[in-house]
Subunit: 410 residues, 2 copies
Amino acid sequence: MGIVWEKLYARRLEWMTTSVIRDIFKVIQSSDIISMAGGWPEADLFPVEQIQEICHYLLQKMPRESLQYGMTDGFPPLREAIAEYMTQLGIPAKKENIVITSGSQQALDLMGRIFLDEGDSVLVESPTFLGAIQSFKAYGVRFVPLPLDEEGARVELLPELIERYHPKFMYLLPTFQNPTGVTMSLERRHQVIEIAEAMGVPILEDDPYGLLRFAGEPLPPLVALSLARHPRNAQEGAYLEGEVVYLSTFSKTLAPGLRVAWAVCPPELAQQFVMAKQGADLHTNALAQTIAYEFLRRGWLSPQVQRIRDTYLERRNAMCAAIEEYFPPQVRYTRPEGGLFLWVTLPEGMDATELLKEAAQRKVAFVPGSPFFVDGSGANTLRLSFASVPPETIREGIRRLGEVLKAHLG
Amino acid sequence: MGIVWEKLYARRLEWMTTSVIRDIFKVIQSSDIISMAGGWPEADLFPVEQIQEICHYLLQKMPRESLQYGMTDGFPPLREAIAEYMTQLGIPAKKENIVITSGSQQALDLMGRIFLDEGDSVLVESPTFLGAIQSFKAYGVRFVPLPLDEEGARVELLPELIERYHPKFMYLLPTFQNPTGVTMSLERRHQVIEIAEAMGVPILEDDPYGLLRFAGEPLPPLVALSLARHPRNAQEGAYLEGEVVYLSTFSKTLAPGLRVAWAVCPPELAQQFVMAKQGADLHTNALAQTIAYEFLRRGWLSPQVQRIRDTYLERRNAMCAAIEEYFPPQVRYTRPEGGLFLWVTLPEGMDATELLKEAAQRKVAFVPGSPFFVDGSGANTLRLSFASVPPETIREGIRRLGEVLKAHLG
């Protein structure tokens, strides 16, 4: 027989979604279905030729930096370039504030390693990003769900939740939230920072989509508001004091397969990230880090981001117009000003997982909302991605989905 | 003030080495010192032009596979190719047995996530790889040290240690061990598999250097011996039953900066790796995986490995010859048949960390041995790497080190 492995597992790790959803997705991946289920950016927008040019250059000019072992906190010129970039965006930072991670997913995991003991609590928006639930769960934590509305997380509920559950930190996606597409209002942004400071509970601000605003007015990230409250930060041009660990990534602007993201935090905490990351993967892929660095250095990021915004705006518009046309009026949806997703709320009592089975038969797919809720609610919600489907296909997908919905809602 | 971060840390993560050693290494990195301290392969041997050619090809022919999000268990054609490669090496494997990891370091971490609860024990060779200590420590485990001699781990001590401490698994580096360079004899290999099977304690076999044999006769990896004991494996041409999780990597043959390695294990356990890895970094860098795949597919790995073997043999010979010439006779050392390292044992009472300070002044460096021991012993040992230093420089480095030693040993 050999070893009976399962007798030895420390804790049963869990899949992010139910087996029903996984089974349907297996079917989806191998068929001609119109999928609005992915969390993926549009591959046709990847700057392939530019990356090709950069690879050629790097392997000619700096093969060691691209191929040899590197520093755990990241390729120093990339950290430097990101610090400058952050400073331009209103987040005073120096190289010592930046840790490169293997995707933001790794930063979530490292936060767990640094802060979470078995039985600790983490406050999360409800619904929230599946990958965060997966990461934190591995540390044996309990979740404290904070409901959202159209202005983002309902921060007025925070003081009571914090007093009652003492979360180790709050995990927030304030801008074009995954999965809802909702953005936290400026007023609430100020409030949440005040609460974090007053009650001593740090914020993990995950901001993968912030650059992808295609409508409305930009809002400062939480980390910028936090840093502005501590004058030493501006004086030193660095992040010395504050309440926020800020995460951003190249996954939605350059290419997700490169797995290059970064955390911004005080140097003292950056050292903890380094220790945690040493044991996790030594360092992030060197070739990908040098590619990201060259891309920034050549000034190619801004035009690239603009191309993505233009495309996603067109697609969001196509999706919203098709929903207006084809969905029954009882169905509610969000109209995000950026990012990849919108969020659909069906009438109470409907089950989006059941609906997915019917949708798959009509060759259209979405992600049911319930896995995004840590409290088992949200059966009547679902997420639609407009990012990776062309406008005409979106229209057809929404039309089919509308038919499925109408069969239930008359 | 903002948040006082350190009040919130769950467990104090620890550096791999003492602050004394880290301070000296900071000096080393920024000077003209001869360093035999690194665990790095020779960068001059990286197949830079081949990787350049492959990058050009990949971004032309399969940009999506190289840049988009991918599967958590790895790029399927790469898993397939590695399974074939493993089978050729005597380890019957199918795609379902292979999980791609972000360096073997990540596989160590995932093993912790799957198997280790706070307070569990892990059996390790003494001395053992620093990175493994770092990874497992983060799970709050206790270490059970198993001494080594010139035939590898002293497996005759295993039954008593297992009965007494009930380790969750045994972490072994049987071939060209890091840090000692020692290889476990065939007899002991058979014994350790028998013990693992009889006592139900799995083995994590870390084999980053196995391909880099430049002298002596090849020995089967533990996983091959284990699989051969269960006839179903050969019948099905897959790993279905056994006692070993086997780790290998492209870091020492292709390039470490790519961070592509793999685990070989039964499919059931591979699923646990996938769940653990989803939360850790979603998936390994896609571009690097496609590069590794192309490198294998084109048949470029074998000639590349041969080039490395030839170079490292020359360097090991240079190092051993110089040690014979320049070191006092009281100093013992290993003569490895492959890999990157040899191991030096000074007379009892000498302290290699103290010696490093003097060596640094004479512009030569090594790694003191004590951090590789989990029980605080090994003060009189040190590791020398011959891989990344040309023969003439090795000779000069050993000469300088010999002077330092002679000053103490007369």
